[in-house]
C-alpha cells in the first residue's frame, strides 16, 4: 500500500512543472521536471568534486607550504590501487549521468501519437506558425495539457527553435523537416528564441508562446482565422504586416532597416537600383511582394524573399490598403 501511494504521489509530482531556481527558469512542460532533476543531480556531483579538489588543494598548500631549511618529505611516486580508484569511480558516475541523460532524451524526442500538429517556418528574422486550418500566426498559440508536435523547416539559413520554459530546442534546417514536441502544463506567455545564429536580427527573432487555458484555444483559433472577414482591410493589413514578418525589415515610422521604410511611400515616386524610378501603386506593391527582385529600391540589397504562394490575394489587398493608410490616403 505504502509503495503504491508513493508511486501515486510521485506521478502527481511528475505531472507538475518546476519553480525557478538560482540556476533554472520556471519549467512548465512535462519534460522540465526530469531535465531539472538531472541538472541538479549533476550539479550535486560537480559541487562535491569541485569542493573536494579545492579543499584538498588549499589544505596541501597550507600544510606543505615551503619553509626554510625543510624540503619535501619522502612519499610514494605512484600507487596503482589509488589511481585505479580515482579512475573507476568517475567511470561509474559518468555512466550513471549518461543513462539518465539518455532516458530523459528518449522522452523528449518521442512525441505522443495524438499530438496536435503545428507547422513552423523559420525565416530571417521571424517565425510563422501554421495551424491545421491553414491560419498563419507569428506567435505560437497552444492549448494547455495537450501534446503539441512541431514540424519545422527554414526558408533560408539554419535557425533553432528554443523555449527555455519548456526545456526544448531543435534546429530548423533548410531543405529538411525537423521535429519537436512539448506539452505545456500552465497557461501563460513564454519566450521563444532563435538559438542558432542567423545574421543581422538574430537577437530579434523572438516570438511568444501563448498557452491558452482549457477550452480557450479553439475559440482563439476560430476568431484569429477569420480576421479577413471580421477586421477592416487596413487593420487586417496591419496585422499581416506584423505577423508575416514584413516589419522585421520594413519600418512604418520612417527609419531605414534592411529594407526601405514604407511610411508615406504609397502614391509617391520610388528610385530603383537600376537608375529608373516607379510610382508606388497597387501593381508595384503586388509585384514587389510576389517578385521582390524585379524592381529593387535604390540603396538596398536585393535580399527580400518571395511571398509567391504564401499570401492569398485577399491578404495582399489588405496589405495594400494598410500601406495606403500609411500615406494618409487610406
Amino acid at each position: 500500500m505504502t509503495a503504491l501511494r508513493t508511486v501515486g504521489e510521485m506521478s502527481v509530482l511528475l505531472a507538475q512543472g518546476t519553480d525557478g531556481s538560482f540556476w533554472m527558469p520556471p519549467g512548465v512542460s512535462t519534460v522540465a521536471r526530469h531535465v531539472d532533476w538531472l541538472f541538479n543531480f549533476i550539479l550535486a556531483i560537480s559541487v562535491f568534486f569541485f569542493l573536494l579538489i579545492v579543499v584538498v588543494m588549499t589544505l596541501f598548500v597550507i600544510r606543505y607550504r615551503r619553509r626554510a631549511g625543510a624540503g619535501a618529505e619522502a612519499s610514494a611516486t605512484h600507487h596503482t590501487g589509488l589511481e585505479l580508484t580515482w579512475t573507476i569511480i568517475p567511470v561509474i558516475l559518468v555512466a550513471v549521468i549518461f543513462f539518465f541523460g539518455f532516458k530523459g532524451y528518449l522522452d523528449m524526442s518521442t512525441a505522443p501519437a495524438n499530438a496536435y500538429e503545428i507547422l513552423v517556418d523559420g525565416q530571417k528574422w521571424n517565425w510563422s506558425f501554421t495551424y491545421p486550418n491553414g491560419y498563419v500566426d507569428s506567435n505560437l498559440h497552444v492549448p494547455v495539457d495537450r501534446p503539441v508536435r512541431l514540424v519545422m523547416t527554414s526558408a533560408d539559413v539554419i535557425h533553432s527553435l528554443y523555449v527555455p520554459a519548456f526545456r526544448i530546442k531543435q534546429d530548423v534546417v533548410p531543405g529538411r523537416y525537423s521535429k519537436a514536441w512539448f506539452e505545456a502544463m500552465e497557461p501563460g506567455e513564454y519566450e521563444l528564441f532563435c538559438a542558432e545564429y542567423c545574421g543581422t536580427s538574430h537577437s530579434g527573432m523572438i516570438a511568444t508562446v501563448v498557452v491558452h487555458p482549457p477550452g480557450e484555444f479553439e475559440i482563439w483559433l476560430e476568431k484569429a482565422s477569420n480576421f479577413l472577414e471580421t477586421m477592416t482591410p487596413v487593420d487586417a493589413g496591419r496585422k499581416l504586416f506584423q505577423v508575416r514578418g514584413c516589419l522585421q525589415c520594413h519600418s512604418v515610422d520612417g527609419t531605414a532597416k534592411v529594407g526601405p521604410t514604407l511610411l508615406g511611400v504609397f502614391g509617391h515616386s520610388q528610385a530603383l537600383a537600376d537608375g529608373s524610378s516607379v510610382t508606388v501603386d497597387e501593381n508595384y506593391v503586388r509585384e514587389s511582394i510576389l517578385e521582390p527582385m524585379a524592381k529593387v529600391a535604390a540603396g538596398y540589397e536585393p535580399v527580400m524573399p518571395t511571398y509567391q504562394g504564401r499570401l492569398k490575394d485577399a491578404e495582399i489587398m489588405a496589405i495594400i490598403e494598410y500601406l495606403k493608410s500609411l500615406s494618409g490616403n487610406g
Binding site: 579538489i53 580515482w86 541523460g101 520554459a165
Partner: protein, 565 residues
C-alpha cells in the same frame, strides 16, 4: 639537422651568464626572419601570438561593452556580429591553436631533449612563415568588410552572406598547414632526438603532452583544410555540397567542421596539461605522482578526441542513435582529464610548496579547469544539453576550459620559462598581483554567464531581454578587471626584458634538461651531449645561495661522456 651559427663554439660554456647567447648571436631583422634556431622561431611565434591575443582581446572588450545595455550601446547589429566572429576566429586560429606548441613547445622541447634543435629546422621556419601569411590573409578580411558568420562558418549562412568569408577561411586554411608542419616536426623530433637514457617513460610529461598534441595536429587538421576548400568551392563555383538550394546538406558541413574542431579543442588543452605536470612537480619540489597514468591519459585523450565530435550537434537533427553514441563517447573523454587532476593534487602531498607566480597560475588552473570540466558533464548529458546548447552556459563552459585552462597554463608556462627565454627575472610581487587580478576578473566575467545561460540566454545575441541585464553587466565589468590584469602582466614583463634581474640557470629547481644550460641558452643549446635521468628527480638538486639558483648535487650525472671523444 645541424644549425650553422657562428659563435656557437664560443658560447658552449655552461657559465651562469654566458656572454654569447641565442639572442645576441646575430643582429638585425633578417637574422631573425631567416633563422633556423628553434629558440628564435619560438620567440618570433611568441611575439606574433601575443599580438593576436591582444587583437582578439580588443574584439572581446568591444563585444562585452556592446552588451552593457539590452539595446544598441556602441555599435550596430552587423558590426557586433563581425566583432564576435573576429574575436572567435582570431583567438582560435591565430592564438590558441598554435599557442603553446609553437611558442613554448618550440623553445623548450629540443632543450628538454638535450638536443641542438628540432629535427627539421627548415620546416620549422616554414611553419612560422605560413603562420604569418595565414595571419595576414585572415586579418586582411577585416579590411575587406570582415566576416559575420561566427568562427564556425556554418552553412548555408556562410555560403550566402555578403561578407569576406573567403579571405578568412583561406587564412584558416593556410594556418592549418602551419599547424601540421609544427606537429610533424615535433613527432619526428621526439622519435629521433631523444638523448641517451631517455626512454619513452623517462620523457618529461611536457614532451608527452606536446607529442600527443602533434598527433592530433597531423591527423585532424587536413580535414579542416578539405572542409574549408569545399566551402570556398561552393561560394565561388556554386558546387552544391552544403547549401540545400544547390542540392547540398548543411548538416554535413557541421560533421566535417567538428571532425576537426573537436580534436582541435584538445590541441588547445593538451599542451596546457603538459605545462601543468611540470609546474605541479617543480613548485611542490617533489616527484610527479603517477607518471605513467598521466602519460597514458594524454595518449587516451588524443585518441578519444576523434570520436566525440557529434556532441556539438545534439540539436542539429542528427539521429537519436548518433546522439546516444556521441553522448556515451563524450563521457569517456572526461576520465583521463579527471585522472590528471587527481594526480596533480597527489603530487602536492608531503611536498614543499612554493607559491611563486607560475605556481599561482597552476593553482588557478586546478580551480578553473575543474569548473570547466565539470560543467562539461551537463553538456554531455543529452536531456540537459538540449536546454543548454547554444546558450551562454556553453560560452562560459568553453571559456573556463580554453581560458581558465589553456590561457592560464600558458601564462604559468610563460612565467616558468621566462628566465630561460630571456635570461631575466620579473617582479615576483607584481607577478602575484597580476595573477590575482586575472583570476578574480575571469571568474566575474564568466561565472555569471553560466547562470544567464541556464536561464535561457542564447549566445551571439546583439540585444537581449531585460531580465538578463544584471548578469551581462557584471560580466562586462569583470572583463574590464580581467583586462587590467593583463595590462599589469604586460607591464612588468616588458620591464623585466630591459631592467630585470639576471636569471640563474635554474631559478625554480626543475630537473629537466633545459635547466642545465645557461639562461638564455647559447645558440647550440648545450656544450656537452646530455644524459637524461628521471625528469622529476627534484631531490638531485640543491639551492645555491651564491647564484640564487639550483644546481646539481652531482654535476656529472647529466653529462654523457663518450669514450674516445
Amino acid at each position: 639537422m645541424t644549425v650553422d651559427t657562428p659563435g656557437a663554439a664560443a658560447a658552449a660554456s655552461p657559465a651562469t651568464h654566458a656572454h654569447d647567447n641565442y639572442l645576441t648571436a646575430g643582429r638585425g631583422l633578417l637574422s631573425w626572419l631567416f633563422t633556423l634556431d628553434h629558440k628564435r622561431i619560438g620567440v618570433m611565434y611568441l611575439v606574433g601570438i601575443l599580438s593576436s591575443f591582444f587583437l582578439g582581446g580588443v574584439f572581446a572588450l568591444l563585444v562585452r561593452t556592446e552588451l552593457l545595455t539590452p539595446g544598441p550601446t556602441i555599435m550596430t547589429a552587423d558590426t557586433y556580429n563581425k566583432m564576435f566572429t573576429l574575436h572567435g576566429a582570431v583567438m582560435i586560429f591565430l592564438f590558441i591553436i598554435p599557442g603553446i606548441p609553437a611558442t613554448l613547445g618550440n623553445f623548450v622541447l629540443p632543450l628538454m631533449l638535450g638536443a641542438k634543435d628540432v629535427a627539421l629546422p627548415r620546416l620549422n621556419l616554414a611553419s612560422f612563415w605560413l603562420w604569418m601569411i595565414g595571419a595576414v590573409v585572415a586579418v586582411a578580411s577585416i579590411i575587406m568588410g570582415a566576416v559575420d558568420t561566427g568562427w564556425t562558418f556554418y552553412t548555408p549562412y556562410s555560403t550566402t552572406t555578403g561578407t569576406a568569408v573567403i579571405s578568412m577561411t583561406l587564412g584558416a586554411f593556410i594556418l592549418g598547414f602551419s599547424s601540421i608542419f609544427t606537429g610533424l616536426n615535433f613527432i619526428v623530433t621526439v622519435h629521433k632526438l631523444r638523448p641517451e637514457g631517455m626512454t619513452w617513460f623517462k620523457m618529461p610529461l611536457f614532451v608527452w603532452g606536446i607529442y600527443s598534441t602533434a598527433i592530433i595536429q597531423v591527423l585532424a587538421t587536413p580535414v579542416l583544410g578539405i572542409t574549408l576548400l569545399l566551402l570556398i568551392a561552393e561560394r565561388t563555383l556554386g558546387v552544391g555540397i552544403f547549401d540545400p538550394a544547390l542540392g547540398g546538406d548543411p548538416v554535413l558541413y557541421q560533421h566535417f567542421f567538428w571532425f576537426y574542431s573537436h580534436p582541435a579543442v584538445y590541441i588547445m588543452i593538451l599542451p596546457a596539461m603538459a605545462i601543468m605536470s611540470e609546474l605541479m612537480s617543480v613548485f611542490s619540489h617533489k616527484h610527479i605522482f603517477g607518471y605513467r597514468f598521466i602519460a597514458w591519459s594524454s595518449i587516451a585523450i588524443a585518441v578519444l578526441s576523434f570520436l566525440v565530435w557529434g556532441h556539438h550537434m545534439f540539436t542539429s537533427g542528427q539521429s537519436g542513435l548518433a546522439n546516444m553514441v556521441f553522448s556515451a563517447l563524450t563521457f569517456s573523454v572526461a576520465i583521463p582529464s579527471a585522472v590528471k587532476v587527481f594526480n596533480w593534487l597527489a603530487t602536492m602531498y608531503k611536498g614543499s610548496i612554493s607559491l611563486d607566480t607560475p605556481m599561482l597560475y597552476a593553482l588557478s588552473f586546478l580551480f578553473l579547469f575543474s569548473i570547466g570540466g565539470l560543467t562539461g558533464l551537463f553538456l554531455g548529458a543529452l536531456a540537459t544539453d538540449i536546454h543548454l546548447h547554444d546558450t551562454y552556459f556553453v560560452v562560459a563552459h568553453f571559456h573556463y576550459v580554453m581560458f581558465g585552462g589553456t590561457v592560464i597554463a600558458f601564462l604559468g608556462g610563460l612565467h616558468y620559462w621566462w628566465p630561460k627565454l630571456f635570461g631575466r627575472m620579473y617582479s615576483e610581487r607584481w607577478g602575484r598581483i597580476g595573477a590575482l587580478l586575472i583570476f578574480v576578473g575571469f571568474n566575474v566575467t564568466f561565472f555569471t554567464q553560466f547562470v544567464m545561460g541556464s536561464h535561457g540566454m542564447p549566445r551571439r545575441y546583439y540585444n537581449y531581454l531585460e531580465q538578463f541585464k544584471p548578469y551581462h553587466q557584471a560580466s562586462t565589468y569583470g572583463s574590464y578587471l580581467l583586462s587590467l590584469g593583463f595590462v599589469v602582466v604586460a607591464g612588468y614583463l616588458l620591464h623585466s626584458l630591459f631592467r630585470g634581474e639576471k636569471a640563474p640557470n635554474n631559478p625554480w629547481g626543475g630537473a629537466t634538461l633545459e635547466w642545465e644550460t645557461s639562461s638564455p641558452p647559447p645558440s647550440s643549446n648545450f656544450a656537452h651531449e646530455m644524459l637524461a635521468g628521471d625528469p622529476y628527480d627534484i631531490e638531485s638538486l640543491r639551492f645555491d645561495p651564491e647564484t640564487r639558483g639550483y644546481v646539481r648535487k652531482d654535476p656529472g650525472s647529466v653529462l654523457l661522456t663518450r669514450v674516445g671523444a
